[in-house]
């Protein structure tokens, strides 16, 4: 009953928002009178001040249709997933996907024509997971990535150099741990959530192979994941911090000497620590290993249940393909993201020096994006196993065997549906 009550409330609140915003649009900018086409565009709530005003400015500048922006706080992925089942959802929405099930379920429109001619200008690592059987279903807006922040002074005091391999990371974390400061913060769950497939890529493996098989059915996987257990067992990890990994607070407050966090934390870290920090990719492990950083992009997608699909596509093309000035503004003026367009990323002065330049280099050289075929079911199976390996000391080989079985079944399911 809890769920249905919750959903009901959510739906009620959603309807409320829709009504309120509809009123707002009628009384406010209704005079824009643009042939009567009205489009609803959804964004998740960005933390940085100014972003909401910016996207509303872009929408207002579009003359061919009347675009209403909805800024949606809360669990955005679930809101969109639920809204796509109905006719009252958005026409255009940003999505951390779209997911394979959304594409296969024909919930989102094919946007391949929109990027014709400029497809090569989009960062291929983030465009790939939005592409299914050669068709593009989401247009990358900006790139986000994650990396390891470390405090130079604390490392120097402990006589530790920035780790270049996973073994060095484990040792460094142990040596940096004291009564007051922990060596490393990988999130309050011990790393199972945020690291995901990153250690596998650092071991030279992958989540899903080119031909759609589980990419970590290999003894190296168990070896690498077993090392994460050592971090936990040696009590080098910070756990139970008031703010989780995505927030640099634990690092800034000196609760930890190293922290895994996102590019978005960089301005704040820079402001508070000045030069006393550095950034690293997740270090390589084993002979076939190479450093890795996860990259991802929110993409603009068009709902297949919208009333004005063609108008919506035209708008998406205008904003996320043609108006590079807005794209640049969106990526760089508020939060801290890398533009999804290579040409824009190259131009950005902010990304040419210091840790930001390192981050861009990691993204180009070591970036991997979660494959489209890596579905939530696979993700849950893998993440559960990783948590058990790290926290309970479960045998990595046995755990991985189960995961490979579940993931293979899931991959079979998705590759056999048309």
């Amino acid at each position: 009953m809890t769920i249905s009550r919750r959903t009901l409330l959510g739906a009620g609140a959603g309807a409320g928002v829709a009504v309120v915003s509809a009123c707002g649009s009628n009384t406010g900018r209704g005079g824009g009178g643009s042939g009567g086409t009205a489009l609803a565009q959804w964004y998740h709530q960005y933390g940085e001040p100014g972003t909401e005003q910016a996207v509303e400015r872009y929408a207002a500048a579009y003359k061919k249709a009347h675009v209403t922006v909805q800024w949606r706080p809360g669990d955005y992925d679930r809101q969109t997933a639920a809204a796509l089942l109905t006719d009252s959802g958005p026409d255009v929405f940003e999505v951390n996907g779209p997911s394979l099930d959304q594409i296969q379920g024909r919930q989102v429109e094919d946007l391949t024509e929109l990027v014709a001619g400029v497809k090569d200008d989009f960062n291929s690592a983030v465009l790939a997971p939005k592409t299914y059987r050669g068709r593009v279903y989401g247009i990358p807006q900006t790139i986000d990535m994650q990396m390891l922040y470390y405090r130079k002074s604390l490392l120097a005091d402990a006589g530790v150099r920035p780790p270049e391999s996973l073994d060095e990371l484990v040792d460094a974390a142990r040596e940096l741990t004291s009564r007051k400061v922990k060596g490393l913060f990988l999130g309050n769950d011990g790393g199972a959530g945020v690291l995901g497939g990153t250690p596998l890529y650092a071991a030279g493996l992958r989540l899903v192979t080119e031909d759609g098989k589980a990419g970590f059915d290999d003894p190296a996987a168990a070896r690498t994941l077993g090392k994460l257990r050592r971090l936990y067992a040696e009590k080098s990890l910070l756990l139970g911090a008031p703010a989780d990994w995505s927030d640099p607070s634990a690092f800034l407050q000196g609760l930890t000497a190293m922290q895994w966090s996102g590019l978005w934390a960089l301005p704040q870290v820079q402001k508070e620590l000045g030069d006393d920090f550095g950034v690293l990719p997740f270090p390589k492990d084993g002979a076939a290993g190479r450093p890795s950083v996860p990259v991802g992009a929110y993409g603009a997608a068009v709902s297949a249940r919208g009333r004005h699909k063609e108008a919506a596509k035209e708008y998406v093309k205008w904003l996320w393909v043609e108006r590079t000035d807005y794209q640049e503004d969106f990526a760089l003026s508020y939060g801290f993201h890398i533009p999804a367009r290579i040409s824009l990323a190259k131009k950005a002065a902010k990304l040419r020096t210091g840790a930001a330049a390192d981050a861009v280099r990691f993204t180009t050289e070591h970036g991997y994006a979660q494959p489209l075929l890596w579905t939530p079911a696979s993700q849950v199976a893998y993440q559960d196993a990783l948590s058990r390996i790290i926290k309970d000391g479960a045998n990595p080989e046995n755990e991985l065997r189960t995961v490979v079985r579940k993931v293979s079944a899931e991959l079979d399911r998705v590759t056999h549906t048309s």
């Binding site: 959530g193 910070l238 911090a241 995505s246 939530p376 199976a381 948590s387 926290k391």
Partner: protein, 300 residues
């Protein structure tokens, strides 16, 4: 006249019936229907799969594991809350001064939301760093800070989950017990005293508890149903942006991720919900039979 009565019956009952049908029975039946279909990202599926969803749900060790979690939790929280709220009621009932004060103080937490309480427990009392309340206490005894919610060996997270629910619930059930206690005829105690029963255990065992039977049955039933519906404090204590850890994951939380999360496997989620509903129905009916709910003390 008769027609008028019928009309008025529907005027009063109609809106509720419609609401109940629309928001409870239709979704319920719809969900049962979905459980027989492959319903990825759709509520109007076309691909009938029979009992496949049930089979894969019952074979899913994460789901069966969550059922176990939930039994352990119920087996623990029900007797503990029961004993604590009964003890509180007995104590508060004997207080002679500031009765209203004590009653309100113990009842107040019942007015707090699960979400708020869970966040306070998670972020200030039981956070894992050295300045959390629990860890500050440990620090006085020179013990290392404990990451309460992240440690699986020993499973400290149960301490957090159980205490938050106890704090929230005990006051409410205390009030129920108090009401029961006040219905007991003082003559019984006087008679017992005349017969030489010493106040304390003997009186409690032979007079108070038997007289509280009806209240106790209701409390036990409510506690079990509440435990079965546990979601809020688990979700708010343990979930993060990346999901939920594989421990202390009750079935509702697991189904929430399967059906309503990015998984959007509504068929599988519905199958799980039906299984869960059946279990709850069987347990509740069994318990009601066993405890002879609805009979008065006189029926024995």
């Amino acid at each position: 006249m008769r027609r008028r009565r019928v009309l008025w019956f529907w005027v009063f009952v109609g809106p509720f019936t419609i609401g109940l049908a629309l928001f409870t029975y239709v979704p319920l039946l719809w969900s049962v229907g979905l459980s027989f279909f492959d319903a990825h990202n759709t509520v109007t599926p076309t691909h009938f799969v029979g009992l496949d969803n049930y089979v894969s749900m019952l074979r899913d060790d994460a789901f069966t594991g969550s059922l176990r979690t939930f039994l352990v939790f119920t087996a623990f929280i029900v007797p503990v809350t029961f004993a604590l709220s009964l003890a509180l009621a007995l104590m508060v009932n004997r207080v002679r001064r500031a009765r209203a004060f004590f009653r309100s103080v113990f009842f107040l937490p019942a007015a707090c939301s699960y979400v708020v309480a869970a966040l306070i427990w998670k972020m200030s009392i039981f956070n894992g760093v050295r300045f959390g309340l629990a860890n500050t206490l440990l620090g006085w005894f020179h013990t290392d800070p404990v990451a309460w919610l992240s440690t699986t060996d020993p499973p400290w997270y149960w301490l957090v989950i159980v205490t938050v629910r106890l704090w929230l619930q005990a006051g409410f059930y205390m009030i129920l017990f108090l009401a029961g206690l006040q219905r007991i005829d003082p003559v019984l105690y006087e008679a017992a005293a005349v017969d030489g029963a010493r106040p304390g255990w003997t009186v409690l065992r032979h007079i108070t508890l038997p007289q509280l039977r009806a209240t106790s049955v209701a409390v036990a039933l409510l506690l079990v149903v509440n435990a079965f519906q546990a979601f809020d404090e688990f979700y708010n204590l343990l979930s993060d942006a990346r999901g939920y850890p594989p421990y202390a994951r009750p079935p509702l939380v697991y189904l929430y991720y399967t059906a309503l999360g990015q998984g959007q496997n509504l068929g599988l989620g519905s199958a799980g919900a039906v299984i869960l509903a059946l279990i709850i129905a069987v347990v509740t009916v069994g318990q009601a039979r066993w405890l002879r709910l609805g009979r008065t003390e006189a029926d024995g």
